[in-house]
């Protein structure tokens, strides 16, 4: 009973909005692909053409804009196959380490402050290893109770799904199967 009262009391406290909650979530996926790192990297670094390998992406609109700091920034608007869009920005593209970094500005994924890196490394036997890492927060920014669809699990499921289906198909496309 005490517990229930305590929970009720927490629910009654006034909250003011923060930019995001303090506990970020992480998704990390790797896949080995039987194709050269150069070939795989060519697909990954082509920021405006992920529809070539990601099965969830219908099309991409690429554009360059000045951001708030007055710097040129590369943006892409992904249109997804099931409908809906995601607006993303390219943060960096490093040819030496074959690593691309990007973030989500807004879109249909149930995540907040999403930041990601995807990199290609040489593996044994002329193969490649692709590593995709994401850091993000759930949509709901305050203490519980959390509305359905805005919790950690919804955010994790969405990103896990995006990485799993993407990497699986990247492997097929790069291996020419």
């Amino acid at each position: 009973m005490k517990k229930i009262l305590a929970l009720l009391a927490i629910g009654l406290l006034p909250f003011s909005a923060a930019a995001h909650g303090p506990a970020p979530q992480k998704v990390e996926k790797t896949i080995t692909i039987d194709a050269s790192p150069d070939k795989v990297w060519a697909l990954v670094k082509d920021f405006g053409n992920w529809q070539k390998w990601h099965p969830a992406v219908e099309s991409t609109k690429l554009e360059t804009k000045k951001n708030e700091a007055g710097e040129e920034e590369t943006l892409r608007l992904l249109t997804l196959k099931g409908g809906g869009t995601i607006l993303e920005n390219l943060k960096s593209l490093d040819e030496d380490s074959k690593q691309l970094k990007y973030g989500i500005i807004e879109g249909v994924l149930p995540v907040a402050d999403y930041y990601s890196t995807i990199s290609v490394k040489a593996a044994d036997g002329g193969k490649s290893e692709v590593k995709w890492l994401g850091r993000f927060y759930r949509v709901y920014k305050l203490n519980p109770p959390i509305p359905p669809g805005q919790d950690d699990k919804s955010a994790l499921d969405a990103v896990n799904g995006m990485y799993d289906t993407g990497l699986e198909n990247l492997k097929k496309v790069a291996e020419g199967k």
Binding site: A18, K91, S92, Y115, R135, L142, N143
Partner: protein, 320 residues
């Protein structure tokens, strides 16, 4: 003869290790597995992995109490670790989401910032039921206390300022504007300057505590935390989205080097006993070690999942 020398050198090595038994230690919070990794800073071995509350983030260590305090943001608690036994000896319930955590210089008061309720709790370390609180700006993040214990400085991430609080009355004395989204803070070794990292502005604010004038120095992408060399010559800032540490020359007032470290570097501390800098890497589950004399990245120590180490995570065991 050679054999004798070998035995003798082994003895010397043994002796050296015995003398180093009281090495400083780093307490690294691993948010993704609810543990703290304790690193021996003389030989970089992992001494212990301690289970704490859910989603540990912040750390503050007291040599005089032999205690290390860990804020568990999703556990809504603070875990108290005994630094001799390497085990949790107490858990303090914190209503809300504790992140920033710091001790008064005399270790009598523990300050804990509650991110979602926009307040800071002041807890008596001798009797944790005794607590006071102060309401401050939006999303209080990094906190630090002046060397004389009279003032508490709080970076308010979503109101873009630093609040200065009188620790006796718990009244806000002043607010100083910072860059956009201040997060990590540290006090300079002489206690006269305060360093605040501005996440969205990609900069470091250096605030002169005598006149509250501030200057900013540009750093890398999405910076989080800062530490300063004991001679106050250099500041080191973790750039989370560049996987680097910016070396800032505080005399020239600019960045002079970028050191590549692990993925998504967060907490950073300078260990004066070894002149090394330790950086917790959230993406790589490791701690990067930087040699402060050469500014070279010399080692990565595997820790636990999603290492953060937000705050003063080094326990000074050598000078006590």
């Amino acid at each position: 003869m050679k054999h004798t020398i070998r035995i003798f050198s082994s003895f010397l090595v043994f002796l050296a290790f015995s003398l180093l038994a009281q090495a400083n230690e780093a307490y690294i919070t691993n948010q993704g597995e609810n543990t703290v990794s304790v690193i021996n800073l003389a030989d970089h071995s992992i001494i212990a992995t301690i289970a704490v509350g859910k989603a540990p983030v912040g750390v503050t260590a007291s040599a005089s109490l032999g205690r290390v305090y860990i804020s568990n943001v999703d556990g809504h608690s603070v875990s108290v670790i005994d630094s001799k036994k390497y085990e949790v000896v107490d858990t303090i319930a914190i209503p809300g989401s504790p992140v920033g955590i710091a001790l008064s210089p005399d270790s009598k008061t523990l300050y804990v910032a509650d991110w979602n309720d926009n307040r800071v709790l002041a807890i008596d370390t001798a009797d944790t039921e005794q607590r006071r609180e102060v309401s401050i700006g939006k999303a209080p993040a990094g906190i630090v206390i002046s060397q004389d214990g009279s003032k508490l400085y709080v970076a308010n991430r979503d109101s873009n300022d630093l609040a200065i609080i009188d620790t006796q009355s718990l009244k806000i004395l002043q607010r100083v504007a910072t860059g956009e989204h201040p997060f990590g803070v540290t006090l300079g070794p002489d206690g006269k300057q305060l360093f605040v990292v501005n996440v969205y502005a990609n900069s470091l604010s250096v605030i002169n505590l005598d006149n509250l004038e501030s200057r900013t120095i540009a750093v890398g992408e999405h910076p989080y935390c800062v530490t300063v060399s004991p001679d106050s010559r250099y500041a080191y800032v973790t750039n989370t989205q560049a996987d680097t540490v910016s070396v800032l020359d505080l005399e020239q007032n600019k960045e002079t080097a970028k050191i590549r470290v692990g993925g998504f570097p967060e907490g950073i501390n300078y260990d004066a006993s070894t002149n090394r800098i330790y950086v917790a890497n959230w993406f790589d589950n490791s701690v990067s070690v930087i040699d402060a004399s050469s500014h070279k990245h010399i080692q990565d120590i595997p820790t636990g999942k999603q290492s953060r180490a937000f705050g003063q995570f080094i326990l000074n065991k050598t000078s006590h």
